[in-house]
């Protein structure tokens, strides 16, 4: 391709320029700031568009702003170009509104023939040039001081190189595709290094479910193990139950043995009963005979039967009592005699004195008089009279005084009144107090008079009282003196002493009289009792023929006889009672024996013969029931291997006389142990069965399995897709490597050719590594070094060689790409300029080259070394 014409309406400082270009070397010459670089930028802008965006960190404006024209409204331009095939095209671009139109040679708008990228850019240049803008910038389009920049590690460039063999342009990037596959694998499926992607999540869930499944299986296995254990326990329980049954069998056996022993005991008992019955009969008959005799004796002494031993006893007591009374009577008589003697002696005392009865009276009288005397003396009427007289005198005196004052006041009152009437000042006024005083005194005297009258009356009364009091006092005193003389005393104290003595004697006398009285009464009573007793028992003894006369006092002998007879009857009666009781008791015992025998024989027994017959029958039954042989037949099931039970059975079989109680006790103990054992087993079995019933891992296992199946299927599908992606990546890389290996030698060859020419064969071996970094073999040292270690100019030259080589590789089957070289010789020496120009000249034979320079010398050299005509564009002239 080559650019024929540039039409700049407005672009940076350029406006309304039309520039014709040739297909070979075009040298665009101009001073600094003449617009050379702007022109270069215009070309790229029309081909690829202008980028917008923000100001860079360095303060550089984005291209769309940087190149906005200063002075005019138009910000647009167009390029006409021709492809190698001869097809001509025109791109018109308005940078202001972003509009782009591509026309063919017939001015058909052929926009629709080109693809549009994501940023809505029409990819016309990409298609026609066969390279992207990035590749263009890194190869054919060299800006000032940027020869070496941007090549290294350019994936875009590498991809383009890889695709160098493709016909036509296709924006096929190996790295993009590889990244796409890798990202798809990583993000949408998951690799071993990720953890949150779909396959990872599925695998994670699968692992978790597998663990869970393992747990459930274990749980299930545990449950099955428990079931197994449960079965074993049931077996043990079964054996224990068999043992229990064996124990019950042995108990039955022992019971049977016990029954037999029991029967033997019963037979012994029956025999004993039989003997007892015989003895009882003998005893019964004997006692019956004795009873009959006693009853006969009682009949004979019927008359005595009216009286009992209690009568006898009472009689004995009363007779004794009677004798006692008699004795008592004698003693009473003696006492009466003594008492009479004492009395007469005491009376003799009082004969010498005043009658005893007066003593008390006198004492009493004296006491009264003394009391009265005291009262009279305490009345104090004398003092009262004196007081009254004194008071009266005072009152009279007071009255007298008051009277005088009253008279005075009266006179004063009259005086003052008169004076008042007489006209004396304050005469009436003085009358008032005077009159008031007079009145007061009048009232007071009046009161006093009354009072004196009262008191005079009182005095009179008191006086008479006093006189009466005196009179009585004299009387009392006379009375007292009389009593003193009667008792021969002179004073009250003597009287009191004498009185006390008399009283004592009087008391004694009284006592003796009383005593005598009582004794006489006692004597009478005693006598009466004796008579009563005599009367009572005489009748009784006459009835019984002991005495003949009721008045006869029975003697001891007679009474004794009576008593003996009574006792004899009593004895016989008691004896008969006793014998009757005994016979009853014997009868009861006999009945009891019959009943016992009946219980043993299980039938009614009423006589001794029946008992004897019963014994015989029982003996016969016992003989039949001998179980000793049964014991030997008892055997335990061989499955029951139990030492204790075996020992017990051996013991049973060995012993003739079994200690059933001991054995039963031992067996009971063992039975209790087995029972506990069975209960324990039951408890364990129930526990296990409950556990088994509650264990339901089956359903969960099923769910887990289903889920696992589902997840495994999904995992399988994803794994398959992952495999596909991996294979695609592998094959893609292999293909890319293969292609890389294809272009690499070509690139190297071109590179070496170019650098060799540029450096006049100084450097012959310059290569680009996989990252497109340049390394060169230093001719002197043969050492391979990175080109950045060389001088700046040499680096520029080497990268120029690289760019040219890349263009040459890329365009091998594609459109020839024009070169745009802006001030590339800045660091070149003359020789290198020359050699480079020669190359460019050679290249310009079949491609368009635009060389931008500000140096006249370079222009001259270019013109000199170009084999064909050079198109010189003077920017100064254009401007």
């Amino acid at each position: 391709m080559y650019i024929k014409r540039l039409e700049i309406k407005g672009f940076g400082k350029l406006k309304n320029h039309d520039i014709e270009l040739c297909g070979g070397l075009n040298v665009i010459y101009g001073c600094n700031e003449s617009g050379k670089s702007t022109l270069q930028g215009f070309i790229k802008a029309v081909l690829y568009g202008l980028k917008g965006g923000r100001v860079s960190k360095e303060g550089v404006l984005p291209p769309v702003k940087r190149y906005k024209p200063w002075n005019i409204d138009q910000f647009k331009g167009s390029i006409e170009y021709m492809l190698d095939s001869g097809e001509a095209y025109r791109i018109q671009r308005n940078f202001q509104n972003g509009e782009i139109n591509v026309f063919d040679s017939k001015f058909n708008n052929i926009n629709e023939k080109f693809e549009i990228d994501g940023k809505k850019n029409l990819l016309a240049a990409q298609k026609h040039l066969g390279i992207s803008e990035q590749c263009f910038e890194k190869t054919a389009f060299i800006e000032q001081m940027k020869t070496s920049g941007g090549i290294s590690r350019s994936s875009e460039l590498e991809s383009r190189l890889i695709n160098a063999m493709e016909t036509g342009y296709e924006d096929t990037s190996f790295q993009i595709a590889e990244k796409c596959l890798g990202d798809t694998l990583k993000d949408r499926i998951g690799t071993g290094k990720t953890s949150t992607k779909p396959l990872d999540l599925i695998n994670s869930e699968i692992q978790s479910l597998l663990k869970k499944k393992e747990g459930l299986f274990k749980k299930n296995a545990d449950m099955l193990k428990i079931m197994e254990g449960c079965k074993a326990l049931k077996e043990e329980r079964k054996i224990a139950l068999e043992k229990m049954a064996a124990i019950k069998g042995i108990f039955k056996l022992l019971a049977k043995y016990g029954d037999f022993e029991n029967m033997k005991q019963k037979l012994a008992e029956l025999k004993k009963i039989s003997d007892n019955v015989v003895n009882l009969n003998k005893e019964f008959n004997k006692n019956k005979f004795i009873l009959e005799q006693a009853e006969a004796s009682i009949d004979e002494s019927a008359v005595f039967s009216n009286y009992s031993s209690s009568d006898v006893i009472r009689m004995q007591i009363d007779i004794e009592k009677m004798y006692g009374l008699d004795k008592e009577w004698g003693e009473i008589r003696k006492e009466i005699s003594n008492a009479e003697k004492n009395k007469s002696e005491l009376l003799k005392y009082f004969e010498l004195k005043e009658g005893p009865c007066d003593a008390k009276f006198l004492n009493k009288k004296l006491a009264e008089l003394m009391n009265e005397l005291s009262v009279l003396e305490n009345e104090g009427y004398g003092d009262k009279v004196k007081r009254a007289e004194s008071y009266l005198q005072k009152a009279k005196r007071k009255k007298k005084i008051f009277g005088i004052y009253k008279i005075v006041m009266g006179l004063l009152t009259v005086l003052t009144l008169v004076s008042g009437f007489a006209g004396v000042r304050y005469g009436f006024f003085a009358t008032v107090p005077m009159a008031a005083a007079f009145c007061y005194l009048s009232i007071m005297t009046g009161k006093m008079k009354k009072d004196i009258l009262v008191n005079e009356g009182e005095h009179k009364h008191l006086n008479s009282k006093n006189m009466e009091n005196d009179r009585r006092l004299n009387a009392v005193k006379a009375g007292i003196n009389s009593i003193y003389s009667k008792t021969g005393v002179d004073s009250y104290e003597d009287f009191v002493r004498q009185t006390a003595k008399n009283e004592a004697v009087a008391q004694k006398l009284e006592y003796e009289e009383e005593k005598l009285k009582n004794l006489k009464m006692k004597e009478t009573t005693c006598r009466q009792k004796i008579n009563d007793i005599m009367k009572m028992y005489s009748k009784m003894l006459v009835e019984c023929g002991i005495i003949s006369c009721p008045n006869e006092l029975p003697c001891i002998g007679k009474i004794k006889k009576f008593v003996e007879r009574i006792n004899a009857i009593e004895f016989n009666l008691t004896k008969t009672e006793h014998l009757k009781d005994k016979l009853t008791h014997l009868e009861q015992l006999r009945s009891g024996m019959y009943e016992k025998a009946g219980n043993i024989l299980k039938k009614a027994i009423t006589d001794a013969d029946a008992v004897i017959d019963g014994v015989k029958d029982f003996e016969a039954r016992l003989e039949k029931n001998d179980t000793s042989h049964n014991i030997n037949k008892f055997n335990m099931s061989p499955s029951i291997k139990d030492k204790i039970l075996s020992d017990i059975i051996c013991e049973i079989k060995k012993d003739k006389k079994l200690e059933t109680e001991r054995l039963e006790s031992r067996l009971s103990e063992y039975e209790a142990y087995i029972s506990r054992y069975i209960n324990d087993k039951n408890f364990e079995i129930n526990k296990m069965e409950t556990l088994i019933d509650n264990y339901n891992p089956g359903e969960e296992i099923q769910y887990v399995e289903e889920r696992l199946a589902e997840l495994n299927e999904r995992a399988s599908i994803l794994s398959e897709k992952a495999s596909s992606l991996n294979i695609a990546m592998e094959v893609l890389k292999a293909s890319a490597d293969y292609l890389k290996s294809n272009f690499a030698p070509i690139l190297r060859k071109k590179l070496n050719e170019n650098i060799s020419r540029i450096t006049s064969s100084r450097y012959l071996d310059l290569r680009a590594d996989d990252n497109l970094d340049l390394r060169v073999k230093v001719p002197e040292t043969k050492e391979i070094i990175g080109v950045m270690n060389l001088s700046g100019g040499t680096v520029e030259q080497m990268y120029l060689a690289m760019r040219i080589a890349m263009i040459q590789v890329i365009e091998m089957n594609n459109e020839k790409i024009p070169l745009f070289l802006d001030e590339i010789f800045a660091q070149y020496d003359d020789n290198r300029i020359k050699s480079t120009l020669k190359i460019l000249s050679d290249m310009s034979k079949d491609r368009q080259i635009l060389l931008f320079t500000c140096k006249q010398r370079e222009v001259e050299l270019a013109c000199r070394y170009a084999d064909s005509n050079v198109n010189l564009v003077n920017m100064d002239t254009i401007n």
Binding site: E166, K721, I727, L732
Partner: protein, 334 residues
């Protein structure tokens, strides 16, 4: 499954069978629930007049913690195992033997009896997974009057010097078990000519699998339409149907299986659709275009050509599709 089991029991009861022979895999040892065992036990108890003889299989081994060993089966159930590998039914004049894995089958003790051998294993299979392998030749020398086999889930009867009857599973368990499933019912006699066993279908469901081939399909409706035509003729309301979509779809289009499933109007018990279609790539153009893409396609085609396995082929074809998508579009539709 429980319903099918009930059916089998009912069949046994109606037939008034003397014997019910179960040649293993009655339950899955690791998964079975106790309630299921209880159900089975209860069903066996319903046919107390029938003697149920069971042998263990690879899924239900007779181990110490198995239900065979520890569950209290009804008294009409006899479980044969190693150490107790035969049972004699005097009243039926029959003796049933169990072929214990790894132990030679002894000859029948009483030739007057109807001697039945029950085995669970692979018959005449030389490769692949084998369980308790045995050959017809070996069986023909056992002197048994009837050989009942288990392990394979599909019904077959092998005739030869001796006849081996394998009823299969009474209910299919997956899409890999198509066809009818049931039990064998009939009469066994010492006289082989009088032995008459008839297959009785007991399965409630049937697994059906078929393929629908698409050609450059470019919509779900088109895919659904193709499926509907294919299933139209099906008269399997109780069927479990698996449809595999094969063939090609247009480049850039992938089938939405859920959407397609919703458009299937034929009612079946269960429908599963698998997508094994592949995109329709213009391989020739891709190769012709050359460059990285062309080379990639060429290399992938080479691999595809070399591949023999179906699964690998699927992966490679998909890899080709993914690579082309990545190169052309910079994105991939999985």
């Amino acid at each position: 499954m429980l319903d099918v089991f009930s059916r089998v029991i009912k069949l046994t009861k109606d037939h008034k069978a003397h014997l019910l022979l179960i040649c293993g895999d009655l339950y899955e040892h690791s998964y079975v629930r106790k309630s299921t065992i209880a159900f089975i036990g209860k069903k066996f108890a319903d046919i107390m007049n029938t003697k149920v003889v069971i042998i263990p299989g690879n899924h239900d081994p007779y181990v110490s913690n198995s239900y065979y060993a520890n569950y209290e089966w009804p008294s009409n159930v006899y479980i044969l195992r190693s150490g107790s590998n035969k049972i004699d039914f005097e009243d039926l004049n029959t003796c049933v033997y169990y072929f214990v894995p790894g132990i030679k089958i002894p000859p029948p003790k009483n030739t007057g009896r109807i001697n039945i051998l029950m085995l669970h294993g692979t018959l005449d299979i030389k490769m692949g997974r084998q369980y308790n392998p045995i050959s017809m030749d070996e069986l023909s020398h056992t002197g048994m009057d009837y050989i009942a086999a288990g392990h394979f889930h599909n019904y077959f009867v092998k005739e030869g010097q001796c006849s081996v009857y394998n009823p299969g599973s009474p209910e299919p368990l997956g899409f890999d078990e198509p066809g009818e499933h049931g039990v064998l019912k009939g009469y066994i006699s010492k006289n082989k000519d009088e032995t008459d066993m008839v297959f009785n279908k007991t399965a409630l469901c049937e697994y059906i699998r078929f393929e629908v081939v698409l050609d450059r399909c470019l919509s779900n409706e088109e895919a659904a339409d193709s499926i509907n035509k294919a299933v139209y003729a099906l008269d399997k309301h109780d069927g479990l149907v698996e449809i595999t979509l094969a063939g090609t779809v247009e480049d850039g289009f992938s089938i939405d299986l859920e959407a397609v499933g919703n458009m299937i109007y034929k009612k079946v018990y269960h429908l599963k659709i698998k997508d094994k279609t592949r995109p329709c790539l213009n391989i020739g153009k891709l190769v012709k275009d050359g460059g990285l893409k062309g080379l990639f396609v060429e290399n992938m085609l080479e691999k595809i050509k070399e591949s023999k396995k179906e699964e690998e082929l699927k992966i490679l074809r998909r890899a080709l599709d993914y690579g082309v998508q990545a190169l052309e579009n910079g994105e991939i539709k999985l």
